[in-house]
Amino acid sequence: MKVSIIGAGTMGMMYAHNIAKIKGVQPAGVCDVDRERAERAAQLCQTSAYTSLEDLLAQEQPDVVCVCLPTHLHKDIVMTLAAKGIHIICEKPIALNLEDAREMQAACDQHGVRLFIGHVVRFFPNYRDAAQKVKDGVIGEAGVAHLKRFGSFPQGSDGWYHDRAKSGGVIMDLMIHDIDYARAIFGEVESVYAAISRSDQMEYAQVTLKFKNKRIATLSGYWGYPGPFTTEFEIAGEKGIIRFNSNETLSLNVKVQSKDQDLGERVQVPRSPMMYDPYYYELAHFIQCIREGTTPIVSAEDACKAVAIALAAEQSAELGKPVNMEVFS
């Protein structure tokens, strides 16, 4: 199966790093408007670099294209690829509004191509383990969940994350991971309440999802966090609790003696290394779904619902009132 990558920023590099490791996948070109970036990613997976999508498609004839572009560019590319009969793996969020997301879904259906959205948290072993334990009833009926995702303000190409018209902001871009995961745990959302603070240096949001089955998930997301990238969750049930804190599961910590204080600071980065990163599992799963025609763990429909919830949260924060999800269905 020939798989191309469009967009060679942070995510494109991540895909390039993983794509060649997947059995039966032949990397088929990386495209980026910036030649250097395209070449760097292409080198990583031993394929050719392109600066034009047309050239890549004509030369490589891919079966699948991974779309790793800024969110506001997803729709046009997905529509183009779908019309050409190419399967698509697109980074999250699917789109910045529901209309675009639905159009993308419809175009893929119409042209008989598969559309997968990279809600990668479903493929993180820690999140998968917790979801499975909840499903297996290990903590009884789950009742209240806390989900947290804090990081620095992402820079991206040309600072596109700072432009809300392009990234959608911290809820749409970052917290959407936890929105999707909360749905995976509790099901459909009834109402959303949110509060947000934004400045040039930070975006911080608190969002509570009330589910149709009365369960509660409260999410916090932060761009501009002065600490290390941090994820945390707690799922409390009638008969048990599952918790995770990324700062407490660091399996490797290298400390280097150094006379240079600054250098010492820089090289002491605790890590949690694994044989494969979650993007590998995600891509391998989507490729398998294409090959076997099976249903993915996380569907384009799930991605649309996550966008709807993120939009509802934005609206709630603006109105200062809860927003019922019926308005967004």
Binding site: E141, A195, I216, Y225, G240
Partner: protein, 329 residues
């Protein structure tokens, strides 16, 4: 200087025992008596310590007592406080101060008109981490507070705590007031609006055992708080008090009971956390005794008790109506 004569009224709330242990070693205090209609509840504390027992607290109030500590069921705080004030006794009242806005305002008014002091028992103010957090915030270490996320998750108590007519509310009343008091203390502002979910998700009881509150302060700070009784039997400790405070220049977190040893014992067959931090109840008692003896205003007033308890009461109203509730001026 002569000793402060203290009477204790009711041991319905188990904090009474802890307050007693904080009083016993003090040389500036004489414990005149303990009143409780259930003698069995207090007999382990009276005779062994040579403290006189009173069945009727009105009899204790007739004694030459300077101050009383009230740890009755929540629904009786108002009646006992007013009687004590009428008898000219200063009052330290267990939280929540009362179960309705009207009765709390009356408690404050009666104490004022009788010229006695009313202090609300919020021992969390005397957590050493909280004392230092307050200093750091006041010194501007994290800039201006933008938002706060709090938790006071606990094990569900038994007995009158889960009887609405005696407690006035479940988890949301029991476990909102401590952290909201700290939020009030840190922000120096008052709550303007509350939106909340109140549910019974963890136990087979009538009363609420789960909730989530979204709070907006007059100064623009917003907050979310989880007061759920969601700690299961298998959890290593009774509960937590945590606050994550997002400022314009940094983030400050308080994990009040993080000072612990991890204990693994075959005697109990579950992991346990053994807390070794400072005793906050000693700080509370010291503050009360010192204030009364030196005729200084108590550090946590009845007004403070009212300002946090009304937030919990507003949470119930919000959950009933499904709308944010603005607090009356």
């Amino acid at each position: 200087m002569k000793k402060l004569k203290i009477g204790m009224i009711s041991f319905a709330h188990m904090h009474a025992a802890s307050y007693l242990h904080a009083l016993l070693p003090r040389e500036d205090v004489e414990i005149v008596g303990i009143a409780d209609e259930e003698e069995a509840r207090v007999s382990p504390f009276t005779a062994p310590n040579g403290i006189r027992y009173y069945k009727d607290y009105m009899d204790l109030l007739k004694e030459p007592v300077d101050a009383v500590i009230i740890c009755s069921e929540n629904s009786r705080h108002a009646e006992i406080t007013k009687q004590a004030a009428m008898a000219g006794k200063h009052v330290l009242c267990e939280k929540p101060l009362g179960i309705s806005e009207e009765e709390m305002l009356e408690m404050i008014a009666v104490c004022q008109s009788q010229g006695v002091q009313l202090m609300t028992a919020f021992p969390c103010r005397y957590l050493t981490s909280v004392v230092h957090a307050k200093q750091a915030i006041d010194q501007g270490e994290i800039g201006d507070i933008v938002a706060i996320k709090g938790t006071n998750r606990g094990t569900m108590p038994q007995g009158w705590f889960i009887q609405q007519e005696l407690s006035g509310g479940g988890a949301v009343l029991d476990h909102t007031v401590h952290v909201v008091d700290l939020m009030n203390y840190f922000t120096g502002s008052e709550v303007e609006e509350v939106y909340a979910h109140v549910e019974t998700l963890f136990h087979d009881v009538e009363i609420d055992d789960a909730g989530m509150l979204h709070i907006r302060y007059k100064n623009g700070v917003f907050a979310v708080h989880d007061p759920s009784w969601s700690r299961t039997k298998s959890f290593p400790t009774w509960g937590d008090v945590t606050m994550e405070i997002i400022g314009t220049k940094g983030v400050l977190t308080v994990d009040a009971f993080a000072q612990k040893n991890d204990v693994y014992s075959d005697q109990v067959m579950k992991a346990q956390w053994s807390y070794w931090g400072d005793n906050m109840d000693e700080g509370l008692i010291d503050s009360f005794v010192t204030s009364i003896r030196s005729q200084e205003p108590v550090s946590i007033s009845g007004e403070d008790g009212y300002l946090s308890a009304r937030v919990a009461l507003a949470a119930y109203e919000s959950a009933r109506t499904g709308r944010p509730v603005k607090l009356k001026e």
